[in-house]
């Protein structure tokens, strides 16, 4: 199912109907999170040599930018594509990667803990969070720049999953916990959570990967598409 909500598209959003859905809340007073513009999943079934992986990773991409991930974005005019790519760099985004498609089951809970970019616990899941830059004004001060805790644990509960139905995709709820680590984080580092739910319809791999690359041509935001197997 594609169509969830039709929105009045701003010029750089181009596509008027949202794909998938997600909503989030944060425990931070001054850090919101909105990556519910476009939500989709794809199975990374083939590597750069087109060798098929029978049990591939499954990526879930969530962006503020609204677009149709199942349509080739290279058909857009340059200004529209440039505008979308720019918005990618100044808006929230989240990528979740399940290590094995076969291990994703309805009702299952999967977790991963990372210190910065290093996974310290959990081999079945990975994630990458991109928080939008602050919107500064004349009253903004450096005193407001307080880092978030660097130990981040993502817990995902899968509500439903299918890779064969007409409505194929993954849906679930998630909690991302920010924890300050003594000796690693500065004493002022903040702790808190981002919680939310998502429904990520499945998109054909090739189109999804091409679109993700196009949207991040100016500025990488998410580590998607995934690096090819064997790529350092």
């Amino acid at each position: 199912m594609r169509l969830a909500v039709c929105v009045c598209a701003l010029p750089w959003l181009v596509v008027g109907c949202r794909f998938g859905e997600a909503s989030f809340e944060t425990s931070f007073d001054d850090v919101g999170f909105d990556a519910g513009g476009t939500v989709f999943s794809y199975a990374d079934s083939r590597d750069v040599a087109l060798v098929e992986n029978a049990d591939p990773p499954v990526a879930v991409a969530m962006t503020w930018v609204v677009f149709d991930p199942g349509s080739d974005l290279s058909d857009l005019d340059g200004a529209s594509l440039f505008g979308m790519a720019h918005e990618m760099s100044v808006r929230d985004a989240l990528a979740i990667v399940f290590a094995r498609q076969g291990a994703i089951e309805a009702g299952s809970t999967t977790s991963v803990t990372k210190d910065g970019t290093d996974v310290v616990e959990g081999a079945d899941l990975d994630f990458s969070l991109y928080l939008a830059p602050e919107r500064l004004d004349a009253g903004s001060t450096y005193a407001e720049v307080v880092p978030l805790g660097s130990r981040r644990t993502l817990d995902v509960i899968v509500d439903s999953v299918s890779f064969t139905d007409a409505d194929a995709g993954v849906s679930g709820t998630l909690t991302l916990t920010f924890e300050a680590v003594a000796g690693r984080d500065p004493g002022i580092a903040r702790e808190g959570t981002i919680t939310g739910s998502f429904r990520a319809p499945l998109v054909e791999e090739r189109t999804a990967e091409k679109n993700l690359a196009l949207l991040q041509a100016q500025s990488p935001v998410l580590p998607l598409p995934l690096a090819g197997r064997g790529t350092p």
Binding site: E87, V90, P133, Y142, A143
Partner: protein, 254 residues
């Protein structure tokens, strides 16, 4: 002498008063970065801490001043990073096509004491561009050149700054009143005669800009100026796409 034609946009936010007076030219070649100006007291270092970045207030002796002037009129009260793509592109394009002068890392104390501070550099390969200079501060200069001007610009550039007053309020605010002299001379490897040389004097009177917002925007201005300085007038608008310097936010480095 010409006077700043426009009070900087969003004046109430960033600069309640702005004035740049221009006196002189380079043998008839104008250099008039007089439409917008920002003066920023850089009072924070960004300290890396195991992957986190924390702003730490500098001791007074380590504070510096950054000043940039342009004949373009970007929206000074906005965070340019968050402008719509088309508007940001216009800002970049306008800066890349403008008379532009960026002065960075000027020692605060020396400037406040009224010292005359100087930096100079010679163009690379006898071209007309100007690299960042050695001296009391760093600078980068981009100059519009009329297509009709067929000779080169003097490749040796000296910038001199002297503050008549520099007032920094404890929490926010303050002002800078300064004279900036930009002198072009023939570089050693340039042919004699026909070059645009001379001195342009800029009289700058401006309220100090809010540090964090102005530094975020300077992160866009400065690379464009460096690119233009390195490539000279032949850069055209290519420098509009110069990568911005990183900016630290609570949400990360962008």
């Amino acid at each position: 002498m010409r006077r700043c034609a426009v009070i900087v946009g969003a004046a109430a936010v960033l600069s309640s008063s702005c004035a740049v007076g221009v006196d002189g030219d380079f043998n008839g070649v104008a250099f008039a970065p007089d439409r917008s100006v920002a003066a920023i007291v850089d009072s924070h270092d960004i300290v890396a801490f195991n992957g986190s970045f924390i702003p730490v207030e500098r001791a007074r002796a380590s504070m510096t001043v950054n000043v940039w002037l342009s004949s373009a009129e970007p929206p000074m009260g906005d965070d340019w990073r968050r402008l719509p793509a088309g508007r940001l592109l216009d800002v970049r394009k306008d800066l890349a096509a403008s008379d532009l002068l960026v002065l960075e890392d000027i020692p605060f104390d020396a400037l406040q004491d009224g010292d005359t501070l100087t930096a100079s550099t010679s163009a690379v390969d006898g071209a007309v561009g100007v690299a960042r200079g050695d001296g009391d501060f760093a600078f980068a200069l981009g100059q519009r050149v009329d297509d009709a001007w067929e000779q080169g610009l003097g490749g040796k550039v000296t910038v001199e700054i002297e503050a008549r007053s520099l007032v920094r309020a404890k929490v926010r605010g303050g002002s800078l009143d300064a004279i900036v002299k930009v002198t072009r001379e023939r570089a050693a490897d340039q042919p004699e005669g026909g070059l645009a040389t001379g001195t342009v004097t800029l009289q700058v009177a401006v309220d100090l800009a809010p540090e964090r917002l102005a530094e975020a925007n300077l992160a866009i201005v400065s690379p464009i100026a460096r690119c233009r300085a390195e490539r000279g007038p032949d850069a055209g608008l290519a420098c509009a796409a110069a990568d911005a310097d990183p900016v630290v936010d609570a949400t990360g480095v962008h």
